[in-house]
């Protein structure tokens, strides 16, 4: 059986029109299909236009944009890290120092009140003894 649909499309591919004789040889379904194909072809040829306005071409390196964005992200992350981590740490250090000083003062005052100035054996002062033994981590 002859494939007139294929034959007609071959003609269209060559830029020819499909003659009526061929259309008449086709059955109803084939004819309907080829007529629609012709319609699509004509419409697309004339109308498929999503043209851009003529302007100077500016080529931008997309990887450069990505790099720029990622550097921004990096800086923001660094800033957040400093705010989020540095301040709690510095606060904690200050608290520890204060606590250490106050404890030492308190104990010293305690010894002074009861026994005068007291130096534990092997240490020049109470403060030295405390800092090296009881509260080394504070």
């Amino acid at each position: 059986m002859k494939n007139y649909l294929e034959f007609a499309q071959n003609l269209l591919d060559e830029g020819e029109t499909v003659p009526d004789e061929i259309l008449l040889k086709m059955d109803y379904r084939e004819r309907e299909i080829i007529l629609n194909i012709i319609k699509i072809k004509e419409t697309l040829n004339k109308e498929f236009d999503i043209s851009t306005p003529v302007r100077d071409t500016i080529v931008i390196n997309p990887t450069f944009i990505k790099k720029r964005i990622s550097m921004k992200l990096l800086y923001s992350a660094a800033a957040l890290f400093i705010i989020g981590i540095y301040f709690p740490i510095s606060e904690s250090i200050e608290t520890r120092t204060l606590l250490k000083e106050e404890t030492a003062e308190f104990v010293e005052a305690l010894f002074e009140d009861n026994y005068g100035v007291y130096s534990p054996t092997g240490y020049d002062s109470t403060e030295e003894w405390f800092s090296s033994s009881i509260l080394p981590d504070l």
Binding site: L5, E6, Q9, D13, E32, I33, I34, N36, I37, K39, I40, K41, T43, L44, N45, K46, E47, F48, D49, I50, S51, T52, V54, D56, T57, V59, I60, N61, P62
Partner: protein, 183 residues
């Protein structure tokens, strides 16, 4: 100035104007192919276009003059667009514009204008119902007017395969239109 001469000037003399001339010549074709493949919104199409232009700018010095520039460019457009789809699997819905209305004023009565508009919408819808490769085949043949052999080089498939796939794609598009009721 031919495409090859533009490429030669760009490669040998770093002539940016020659590159711009080449790009402006194919600007609309690039956009049509990108649009055909990704059928996404304008921003996605523009991003992909930029990727293509940048890739072209970098790879053109490697051009060997063995293949036709148009097939080289169209292959790059299709591959970059497919890459875009892979990277952005969640493609947003198509901006509804495939066929322009600029020649509708040629039709005289409101009925014929409406009829023509409906026909265009149906054709557009039928095209976008097809799978990407079928749609690209039709656009490359019937809009960009590439020959079967040129399309075969773009798709890196034998000409016979391309021809039968194109014919099947056209039949499918026509059947969709018939089913949707265009007269």
């Amino acid at each position: 100035m031919t495409d090859e001469l533009c490429i030669f000037k760009f490669i040998e003399n770093s002539d940016e104007a020659a590159f711009n001339c080449l790009v402006n010549r194919y600007r609309n074709s690039i956009r049509r192919i990108v649009y055909t493949v990704i059928k996404g919104p304008k921003e996605d199409i523009e991003d992909t276009e930029q990727e293509i232009l940048w890739a072209l700018y970098r790879s053109l010095p490697e051009f060997k003059y063995k293949s036709d520039f148009r097939t080289y460019l169209f292959r790059m457009c299709r591959n970059k667009s497919i890459d875009f789809i892979r990277k952005n699997s969640r493609i947003r819905k198509l901006d509804k514009l495939a066929l322009t209305d600029h020649q509708l004023s040629d039709y005289t009565t409101p009925e014929t204008i409406l009829e023509e508009k409906t026909k265009r919408e149906l054709i557009s819808a039928a095209l976008f119902d097809l799978k990407e490769s079928d749609r690209s085949l039709i656009i490359m043949k019937d809009v960009e007017n590439l020959s079967i052999d040129e399309i075969a080089r773009v798709f890196k498939r034998p000409s016979g395969t391309i021809k039968s796939r194109l014919h099947r794609a056209r039949v499918r598009a026509a059947e969709i239109i018939i089913k949707k009721g265009i007269k």
